[in-house]
Amino acid sequence: MFSWFANPLRFMRLSNWLAPLCYALSALLIGWGLWQGLWMVPKDEYQGGDIMRVMFLHVPAAWLAMASYMAMAVMSFIWFIWRHEVADIAAKSIAPLGAVWTAICLATGSIWGKPTWGTWWQWDDARMMSVLFMFFLFLGYMALRASMDTRQKAARAGAILAMVGAINVPLIKFSVDLFTSLHQDSSVLTADGPKMAAVYLWPLLASGLGHTLLFAGLTQTLMRAEIWDRRTAQANAKLMAEG
């Protein structure tokens, strides 16, 4: 299955129509989710009143942050074992996007935290710290790749870091249950299924799916750019070998 996707040509053909489709669907889903979330659903006084509407951005961002890191680690693993170039291109493209979504999660959480918990930031909170460090990991991944002189080396170094850093994600997921935290426990992604009220749950899930599709679309666009870039470099190398 991997080898089927590993062909850059096939990927280019696929993403040519898949990426626009992702964008269109995500616009619909996010639009509906936000419309519901910002205007239609009743506010929850226990979660800080109107500010709780930021949930429809915060929670999808948090999910995507974790998922994107895992995706990057998996892609790195595939590249490390099978050396499929497309997997490396995918990992490289996911990193900046993952960093953005992680930053959104941090920013919205922080904005939400001020009225509800009375603080922007809590240093000894395991969840906040581990999300912050996941953000650092994304930055470190990009900095490491940038500091290597060849693509091959950048790919190898990045893959090692992404795989080793993957230990962080389970910690984030379970930190809330393991440690006392200001943060509430999971109520959607739990073993017993969602426990959230349906008015909130549906718009939230729609937003979540929308963000996922947007992420997928952007990843494909970045990957396409990278593939073009590599083709140009290869052509140049060939020219120089001949000339």
Binding site: M129, L161, N168
Partner: protein, 221 residues
């Protein structure tokens, strides 16, 4: 698998850590310096100092391991010794692990052993807890060194890869730091924290050597 090169790598690293008259003492001096400067900075209210003590030691341990580790593999890369170590026939992971362990032994362990003294300077009560804490510092430090080794190996070709190694290693330090700090409080969860600390150290010992080996092959490439 030939064990002789691994043993040699361990002995050489241990010797090197102590060589130059001062190598291994760097973190000690660092640590002691911090211990002297901190009260100077934050004042000497015993209450504050006691509250701050254990945490400062964790921070010092993390920072000092970063400083030491940056050199472990960078020097080897620059002077060509890495090329020799990669051609011994022994697995690179075992050699990297042996070297890292030696550096922990030379620099990390002394820090942990010194910790009761520093705790006393920070107005802690003398009690058996200080010895228990020293063991926890030792355990946590070992994890710090192994994760830091991964960062050091990854940035070995980048001269002055300082920020890089901090960016890479700090996130890996977090679980250990959280469990370590937690295990020295009386808060909820503090009882199981030492167990989690030990688990995270074991995990580091199991995973980090392979990551280091891959990174070192890359540095030699």
């Amino acid at each position: 698998m030939r064990p002789a090169p691994i043993l040699s790598a361990f002995q050489q690293a241990l010797g090197e850590a102590w060589a130059g008259g001062a190598g291994a003492l760097l973190p000690l001096g660092f640590f002691a310096g911090a211990a002297v400067l901190v009260p100077l900075g934050i004042g000497t209210d015993p209450q504050t100092l006691r509250a701050v003590g254990p945490g400062i030691l964790w921070v010092a341990l993390a920072l000092s391991s970063l400083v030491t580790l940056e050199r472990i593999f960078q020097a080897d890369t620059e002077d060509g010794a890495l090329d020799l170590w990669l051609q011994t026939g022994a697995p690179a992971s075992a050699i990297a692990g042996a070297k890292t362990f030696a550096h922990w032994l030379a620099a990390g362990l002394p820090l942990a052993l010194l910790s009761p003294l520093l705790a006393l300077m920070f107005q802690a009560e003398a009690s058996a807890d200080l010895l228990r804490n020293a063991a926890l510092y030792g355990l946590g430090g070992l994890a710090f060194y192994f994760w830091g080794g991964v960062g050091a190996a990854l940035s070995a070709t980048v001269r002055r890869g300082g920020l890089l190694i901090s960016l890479i290693a700090l996130p890996l330090y977090v679980p250990t730091a959280i469990f370590g700090a937690l295990s020295m409080t009386n808060g909820p969860g503090s009882e199981s924290a030492p167990l989690f600390l030990a688990a995270s150290t074991l995990f580091a010992l199991a995973v980090a050597p392979f990551a280091m080996a891959a990174a070192l092959r890359l540095a030699a490439d």
